[in-house]
Symmetry: C2
Amino acid sequence: MQTDVNKKIPARKLSHRDRIYQDYLTRIQRGEVAPEDRLVDTTIAASLGVSRMPVRDAMMRLVHEGYLITSSRGFKLPVWDKKSVLEVFELRRLLEPRAAGLAVQNATPEILDALTDAFANAENTMASDDIRHFYRACEVFRNLWLSAVPNTQLRQMIDRYLSQIQAVRMVTMGDAESHALIVAGQRQLLAAFHAKDSLKAFDCMTRYVYDGEAKYLERV
Amino acid sequence: MQTDVNKKIPARKLSHRDRIYQDYLTRIQRGEVAPEDRLVDTTIAASLGVSRMPVRDAMMRLVHEGYLITSSRGFKLPVWDKKSVLEVFELRRLLEPRAAGLAVQNATPEILDALTDAFANAENTMASDDIRHFYRACEVFRNLWLSAVPNTQLRQMIDRYLSQIQAVRMVTMGDAESHALIVAGQRQLLAAFHAKDSLKAFDCMTRYVYDGEAKYLERV
DNA sequence: CGCGTACAAACAGTATACAGTTTGGCGCAA
DNA sequence: TTGCGCCAAACTGTATACTGTTTGTACGCG
């Protein structure tokens, strides 16, 4: 047991369960888990040197949050059919324009600066060798403006289906036209942030989601 | 162990965990769990004659879904402050009008009939001795029209914050004016369903949520 | 050669046990 | 009487073990 020596700072109370959860959450969100992978608690537990229980807890939490599904043979990624993906696009159209508008009103200069950097990074990595760099940059950009959304409940709702976006990414993976669309959307959104124009942010977020849906429909 | 004898119908595979989860979910949603209650896994397990683990799993699922929070002394209801409640009202304004509109387009005659009955029941129990009858009727009405929403993802999002409505109910509990408002809203919504007027459903759902928020602000 | 059946392994669910931590109360001293 | 500290109980997190079910497979029968 590696318990903290310094009891005066109980900030690091991360249990095995929480660490494993965080670990696999980021792995899934970064697309490091393949659809054919089978995540078995006993196997993971053995590789980490812990018992099944914390692993099980972490996996089942991921199941409840929609990142995984149970099967009779280990945990695996859920298969998002076309209908579900389109349903999420509808959700995004309802939530994200408003969220972007609120974020513009609430953004601090620090966030604005960080957002500018993140956009530059996304633009530079757009044609990168490793496409994952581009997606990581997009993830950073997205998380940044979301962090400026004052409505916590709204932000959590959006976070909740964020993982599903990964499935759509797989469809448009490597499509230069899609990437250009993403960067163009980010540029407009960034401009709206700098102009403090929440209505413009609302509008360009609306178009951004519609464009994404159209691109998805082209590909599926 | 009470396993099914008939193996040809494996439909009923409900584990202890799932039964306990369902049980406490409905209890919470019906307001049968008081804010001062402390839900301790060992105690519940003993009363049900099962071990801690299924109870723990169920409770932690409820925590992840926002119905409960952990404390150093058992699980308990989260405290919804005014800010959170208002944030949820904003979410509801974004999601429910659209959901109602979609539901109108998708409602079957059976649902329409059931909805009519449910409304009659709500209207009748509005001034009931036991106000819980009225809330139960409202719950039925709400679940009915939600069941007609074709967008599963949207429906699940709305379900997710349903429990929080309980907290608002506590504030407006016993306020005859609020109840009249609820019934009036239901009447309009029902009319929209019968007229197959999805735009009207959208509009009266919008007004319904705004009215609810206004009433809440009067009381808090 | 194809189909069905039975067996073994893999895995999920549940039970039990134990350790570490927090909490509230009680006793002791000032 | 009040403040301090210690102790026991309560509770969470983790480990280990056992059971029942599902799945893949191999063997036997047609």
